[in-house]
Subunit: 205 residues, 2 copies
């Protein structure tokens, strides 16, 4: 019982690392196996198919994301502090270089790889995950509204999408363009977004 679970865990960690810079589609049973110094078939037995492996990697990554981004933010007091913590952790996640994701956010690569795919287990799982994540963001944003720090009539879903755009832009600038100013720019953009959502700001609709 124990041995199998442990191997599986190790395999998922390595698979996540490789997905991080090759994408979910880029990982290979063969390459993964030799990285783990085991046989293709031995590794394959842990996941009934490559598709299942991809889903499992997404699930594994989500656990890591919840643990290192969401949970720490929940320790901050509700409102802008918590929202800022969430964004800062999110930014950190995208540069999670030294541990499990040398190639940046796996959700972003997966999103671009599967966005034009027909429905399927991997895509469906990823989309569900993203909806969950947007829900979490909205909850934190509404917290800041309830604290009176953000406008009462703010479109929280729009706000969440705006934040998402900022993070995608950060990924783009940091990873593709190798722009060291990317995190700074993301923070500037986030503050500007928050400012535009403060009470007293004229409604833009």
């Amino acid at each position: 019982m124990s041995k199998g679970v442990q191997t599986r865990e190790t395999a998922l960690r390595e698979a996540l690392a490789q997905s991080s810079h090759l994408g979910l589609k880029g990982i290979t049973i063969g390459t993964l196996a030799s990285s783990l110094e085991m046989s293709k078939s031995g590794l394959f037995a842990h996941f009934k198919s490559k598709e299942q492996l991809q889903v499992d990697v997404l699930e594994y990554a989500a656990q890591l994301f919840a643990m290192s981004v969401v949970q720490p933010a929940l320790k901050e007091p509700r409102g802008l502090e918590r929202l800022r913590a969430l964004c800062e952790n999110w930014l950190g996640w995208d540069g999670y270089a030294d541990y499990a994701m040398p190639g940046g956010c796996v959700f972003i690569s997966a999103a671009m790889e599967f966005d034009d795919e027909p429905d399927g287990p991997v895509r469906d799982f990823l989309v569900a995950q993203q909806h969950q994540w947007f829900d979490s963001m909205e909850i934190v944003i509404r917290g800041a509204i309830r604290e009176g720090q953000l406008r009462e009539d703010l479109d929280t879903l729009q706000f969440a999408h705006d934040l998402n755009g900022i993070m995608l832009g950060h990924h783009f600038a940091a990873r593709l363009l190798r722009d060291e100013a990317a995190p700074t720019r993301a923070r500037v953009a986030t503050e500007r977004l928050i400012d535009s959502a403060r009470p007293g700001t004229p409604v833009t609709d």
Copy 2:
């Protein structure tokens, strides 16, 4: 002379269409050849390698982009009108469904595919293209500054990156989440961004 160029052109168009939803790495000589109803080797002869094919596809896409996004915007009067036209065309480009790019912006997928790659012909070409594109954006933005419609001390590069983030967010919402409100949200975000850059707006630095 004529026949070869024509075949090449047709091949590039089909290759772009396929790259659009499979990514640049997703295209294969074999699949592409059978789509064009010709032999693998016959097609291959037009491009000396797959890497070269990928670069050529990027170049082909850039021509299309310049023609359908940049050039029309340059017909608008300098300033916010031109900037808005650029954004609107850009938004249209990402949903260029019926012609050459059924799977959305090929530059975005390519960016995510090659962002963690070591330097190479394809990555280098893509990065150079993006820098060019950011330069173009900055020029249009500075046009609005010179017209007195945007703040004098505006960080134009930051502004361009913010726009880029909005478009990436649009791609994400429209393609992965299949959110029909995506274009509207992108427009709202763009207007908010413009508003925050107007003269008289307090500096956010």
